[in-house]
Amino acid sequence: MGVKSRRRFLTVAGGLAAATLAPAPRAQIMRTPLNHMPAVIRRLVGVRSITKGRVKLDVPPLVENGHLVPLSVHVDSPMTAANHVKAIHVFTERNPLPEMVTFRLGPRAGRARVTTRVRLADTQNVVAIAELSDGSFWSDTTHVIVTLAACLEEAPV
C-alpha cells in the first residue's frame, strides 16, 4: 500500500473516529474518568524524554471484563552489568491508581521479560516504561478494550 493511500486510510479512520466516536450527549456513556497518569509518569522520568521502542507490551487488545488480564513486558536489552534494564513500570490511564506495577531488575535477571496478571477498570491505554541503566526511558502503549464495561448501565450518581 503506497504512502498516499496509507494517509488516505488514516484520514478516513481519523475522520470516522471524530464523526463516529464523538461522546454522546449528557451522561449516556459514563466512562471511568482519566486518572493522573501523566503527572505520575512525569514524576518518574523528570526532565528526561521517553522514546517509543525497545519495549514490547503484550496485552490482549480486547478482554471480556478486565477482571484478570494477562500482561507481559519484554525489553530488548543484553542485561549486562554495563547495559541492563533497571526497572519496568506499568501504568494505566483509567484505573483508580495510575501506577499498576513496577518490576526492579538487574544483570542477574538474565533477560528483561516479565509476566503477570492485572485488573483493568475500563477500556483504556496501558503504558509500559522501561528504565535503563544508562538513565534512558523507553516505552510501549497498548489500547485495551474492556467489553463488559460497556455492557453495564451507567452507575447512578
Binding site: 493511500s5 475522520g15 463516529t20 480486547l62 475500563d122 478494550i145 467489553t147 460497556a150 448501565e153
Partner: protein, 730 residues
C-alpha cells in the same frame, strides 16, 4: 495519542458461508487493483463511510454493530442511518461487521454491546452522523461531477438533484466517487421535527426471514465437516470434575471424543447432537462438588433474613432523617418482601460453533456483544487478534444471558482446540441451560413507613438484603464496597432516579449477602424486584392512611414531573376514579429505569380467592424519543409476557448446592390464552434518549399485585412466584 499503527488489512476477503450468513452479505476489505483508496465490501461495492455501503443498483447496506435479539434494534438503527442518509427505505439492507474488523479498524462502529436498553440511546448520535456524512459525500461527488456548487444540490430517496437544472443522479452511480472523498468533520443533523423515517412505525427488516424459515440461528447452523458436542458442567457452582469413565461410552455409534473442558466440565463430541447428548447422559462422571454442596434456598433465605436487621448496610439514597422520623412516628407500617432466583430461559439454549487451527480460530455464535465473544475467543484460543474471528448470528433470545457471559464460547473453543481443523457445534441441552444460568439475584426487602399524628407520611426505611450482581460480575464498578446497581429505580438521580422525592425523610440501603449462585443481568436487572418492593408498599401505606393510591403518590411527586406524567397517563386511560366494571379492580405502578419513565395500570378480577384474570393492562412510557412506535408497543407487550410469567410461574430453587428446575415443566411461562390485552401509550417528551428494551418490564407485576390486593380486600402477597400461593392466572 502516540503514532497510529497502520492496521494490517488482509487482501483476502472473508466470506461467511450462506448457512451462517443470517442477514446475508459478508464484509471484506478487498483492495481492488484500480485505486487503493476505497474500502469495499466483499462484492466490490464501495464503502462511502464505514456505516454505509452503496451498490450500483442503489441497494444500501447499513452496518449494524449491536445485536438483534427480537427487540427491533437492528431496524431502529437502520432507520436512523437511513434518515440522515436520505435513501430509499425500500432498498435498505443490513449487515453485521465482525468484531475482528472492529479491532482492526479501531472500533469504527463503536460499541458492540447490546444490553442495558442502550442499543438506540447510546448510538443514535454517531450512527446518524455516519449516515449524514455519507449523504454529504454523495452530494459532494454529484456536485463535483456536474461542476456545480454543493449548495445547489439536495438529496432525497437515494437521488441527488441539482435543483436549478433538475439534473438527477442515483446514489449507486456516485457511490464510487463519494467513497474517495474525505469524510466531513462537521456533520450537522436534522431537526427531529423534520424526521421522515425516525418516529414512523416502519416494518421490521428481519421479520420476513423469520416467517419463511430462512433465518439461521446458531442452533440451526451446519458447516461442512461439522461435529456436534454436548456438555455438562458441574451442577454445583464452584465444583470440579474429579473423574469420568470415557470407556463406557466411547464405543457408541457416532461418538468421536469424550473430553474434559476446563476443570469443571465434560463434553462428548459425536456425528449428531443426539448421539453426543445420549452418550453424555450415560457417561459416569464423578464430581468434586466443592464447598457449596450443602447450600439450599432455605439456607440462603435465612442469611438474607438476618440482613434485614443488620447494623451495617450500604446507603444508596437518603433524605432527611428517616430513622428519627420513624422513631417518632405515631403509626408505623412494616412489610417484608422476598424475590427469588430466576433464569433467562431463552427459547434457544446456549450454543457456539468453533473451528480451531494453529493459524486461525473462528467462532459462530449468537451473542449480545460480538466484541465480548471475540475477547473470550482470544483468551480461550491463545491466538492473537489477527488470527481470530467471530461471526455474529441472530439470537433466539438474549435477555441479558448472552451479553456479559460467554462461557459457552470459551467451552466451544476449548473443545475445538482439542480437535484442530474440525468445526464443532456446542449446543447446551435445556437442562444444562437451566442449571448453568446467570441468575436474577435473590433478595428480600423490609420496608417501614411512618405517619405522624396528623396522618402525614413522614418517613420510609427500605432495607434490601441479598445478592449483589456487580460484586461477582464486575467488582471494578463497586463504589467503596457498595453495588450501585442494587438501587435501580431508587437512586438519588440519573437513569434510575427515585420517583418519590417528596417523602420528607427516607433511607434506602442494602445489606449485601452473596450466595454461591452466579448472578447475571436478567431483563430489567434489579428493577423487577425494586418496583414490586416500593410500588406494592406504597399501596400498603396508602391503605393504612386510608387514601387513594394515586392521590397518595401524587402528593409525593411534585419534584418528579415526568414520573408523574406517565402515571397520570395510565390512570386517565384506565378511568381511575370512575367505577370499574363489576368485580374488576385496578392497580398502579411507576418507575424510572434506563432513563425512561414508565407506568402501568392493571385491571384484574380474582375468583375463588386464587384465580386471577387480567382483563386489561395499560402501559405508558416516555423514552424521550421514539424511533419506531410500533416496535415500542411490541416491546411493551413482550416485556409484560416476560415479567408476568416471572411473577406467576418462575422460581429457581437451590438444593444441595444446585438449581432444581431443569425444564419448562417446573419453570413455566404464560400461555396465549392468559395474556391480557395490552394498551400502550408511547409519549416521548423529547430532549433525552431513554431505553425501551427493559424499563417497562418492571411495572406490570406491581400493577397486577396492587389490583389483586384491591380485589382481595387488601390481602397482600409478598413472596413470589404466585404459584407458590396456589394462585393461577386464568
Amino acid at each position: 495519542m502516540d503514532s497510529i499503527e497502520m492496521p494490517r488489512v488482509s487482501r483476502r476477503s472473508f466470506v461467511i458461508g450462506a448457512a451462517a450468513a443470517g442477514t446475508g452479505l459478508a464484509i471484506g476489505l478487498k483492495l481492488p487493483p484500480f485505486g487503493p483508496d476505497v474500502v469495499r465490501a466483499a462484492d466490490g461495492s464501495p464503502e462511502v463511510t464505514a456505516w454505509v455501503v452503496i451498490k450500483p443498483d442503489d441497494t444500501v447496506v447499513i452496518r449494524i454493530a449491536r445485536s438483534e435479539m427480537g427487540q427491533g434494534t437492528l431496524t431502529g438503527l437502520a432507520q436512523m442511518v437511513a434518515e440522515e442518509l436520505e435513501c430509499d427505505w425500500s432498498k435498505v439492507t443490513t449487515e453485521y461487521p465482525t468484531p475482528g474488523q472492529s479491532v482492526k479498524r479501531k472500533r469504527a462502529w463503536g460499541d458492540f454491546s447490546t444490553g442495558g436498553s442502550r442499543g438506540i440511546r447510546n448510538s443514535h448520535d454517531y450512527v446518524r452522523k455516519g449516515g449524514a456524512a455519507a449523504r454529504m459525500m454523495l452530494v459532494q461527488a454529484a456536485a463535483d461531477a456536474w461542476k456545480v456548487p454543493v449548495a445547489e444540490c439536495s438529496a432525497a430517496n437515494s437521488m441527488v438533484t441539482h435543483n436549478p437544472s433538475g439534473r438527477k443522479v442515483s446514489y449507486g452511480k456516485v457511490a464510487e466517487a463519494a467513497a474517495r472523498l474525505t469524510p466531513p468533520k462537521d456533520v450537522p443533523l436534522k431537526d427531529p421535527k423534520d424526521w421522515k423515517i425516525i418516529g414512523k412505525p416502519v416494518k421490521r427488516l428481519d421479520t420476513v426471514d423469520k416467517l419463511t424459515g430462512k433465518q439461521v440461528y446458531g442452533f440451526d447452523l451446519k458447516l461442512p465437516g461439522m461435529l456436534n458436542a454436548a456438555i455438562m458442567e458441574c451442577p454445583v457452582f464452584g465444583g470440579k470434575v474429579k473423574s469420568f469413565d470415557a470407556a463406557k461410552v466411547s464405543g457408541r455409534k457416532g461418538v468421536k471424543k469424550v473430553l474434559p473442558v476446563g476443570d469443571s466440565a465434560v463434553a462428548v463430541v459425536a456425528d449428531t447432537w443426539w448421539q453426543a447428548k445420549t452418550a453424555l447422559d450415560a457417561l459416569p462422571i464423578v464430581w468434586d462438588e466443592g464447598p457449596n454442596a450443602k447450600v439450599s434456598s432455605a439456607s440462603i433465605a435465612e442469611i438474607n433474613k438476618a440482613g434485614l436487621d443488620a447494623d451495617q448496610a450500604f446507603v444508596g439514597n437518603k433524605a432527611g432523617d428517616a430513622k428519627g422520623a420513624l422513631a417518632g412516628a405515631a403509626k408505623k407500617v412494616e412489610a417484608v418482601y422476598a424475590y427469588p432466583f430466576q433464569n433467562h430461559a431463552p427459547m434457544e439454549p446456549m450454543n457456539a460453533t468453533a473451528k480451531y487451527t494453529a493459524d486461525k480460530c473462528e467462532v459462530w455464535v449468537p451473542t449480545q456483544n460480538g466484541e465480548a465473544a471475540f475477547a473470550a475467543t482470544l483468551a480461550a484460543s491463545g491466538l492473537p487478534a489477527d488470527k481470530c474471528e467471530v461471526y455474529k448470528i441472530h439470537l433466539g433470545g438474549g435477555f441479558g444471558r448472552r451479553g456479559a457471559f460467554h462461557d459457552y464460547v470459551t467451552q466451544a473453543v476449548r473443545i475445538a482446540k482439542q480437535m484442530p481443523g474440525v468445526p464443532v457445534k456446542l449446543l447446551w441441552s435445556r437442562e444444562e441451560d437451566m442449571r448453568q444460568g446467570r441468575f436474577h439475584p435473590v433478595t428480600q426487602c423490609k420496608l417501614v413507613g411512618g405517619f405522624d399524628a396528623s396522618n402525614n407520611f413522614t418517613g420510609l426505611h427500605m432495607r434490601i438484603s441479598g445478592q449483589s450482581i456487580l460484586a461477582s460480575v464486575r467488582p471494578q464498578a463497586m463504589k467503596d464496597g457498595m453495588d450501585p446497581a442494587t438501587f435501580q429505580g431508587l437512586a438519588p438521580s440519573g437513569e434510575f432516579e427515585f420517583g418519590y422525592k417528596g417523602i420528607p425523610n427516607y433511607l434506602i440501603d442494602h445489606a449485601m449477602r452473596n450466595p454461591h449462585v452466579p448472578p447475571g443481568f436478567w431483563r430489567g436487572v434489579n428493577i423487577n424486584q425494586n418496583a414490586i418492593y416500593i410500588e406494592c408498599f406504597m399501596d400498603e401505606l396508602a391503605a393504612a392512611a386510608k387514601q387513594d393510591p394515586l392521590e397518595f403518590r401524587r402528593k409525593l411527586m411534585a419534584k418528579n414531573p415526568k414520573h408523574l406524567a406517565v402515571l397520570n397517563a395510565v390512570a386517565e386511560r384506565a378511568g381511575w376514579g370512575k367505577p370499574a366494571p363489576k368485580g374488576v379492580f385496578r392497580g398502579l405502578a411507576q418507575m424510572k429505569a434506563f432513563d425512561s419513565y414508565v407506568a402501568a395500570c392493571a385491571e384484574v378480577s380474582v375468583s375463588g380467592g386464587n384465580k386471577v384474570k387480567i382483563h386489561r393492562i395499560i402501559c405508558a412510557t416516555d423514552p424521550g424519543h421514539a424511533v419506531n412506535p410500533a416496535q415500542i408497543e411490541r416491546q411493551i407487550a413482550g416485556s409484560f409476557v416476560y415479567g408476568l410469567s416471572a411473577l406467576f410461574e418462575q422460581e429457581c430453587t437451590v438444593k444441595n448446592g444446585r438449581i432444581e428446575q431443569e425444564n419448562f415443566n417446573t419453570y413455566g411461562s404464560m400461555k396465549i390464552a392468559q395474556m391480557p390485552k395490552v394498551e400502550s401509550i408511547v409519549m416521548p417528551s423529547g430532549g433525552f434518549w431513554g431505553g425501551v428494551g427493559e424499563p417497562t418490564i418492571c411495572v406490570a407485576a406491581p400493577a397486577v399485585l396492587n389490583a389483586m390486593a384491591a380485589a382481595m380486600g387488601g390481602k397482600r402477597i409478598r413472596s413470589f412466584p404466585l404459584k407458590n400461593h396456589g394462585i393461577t392466572l386464568v
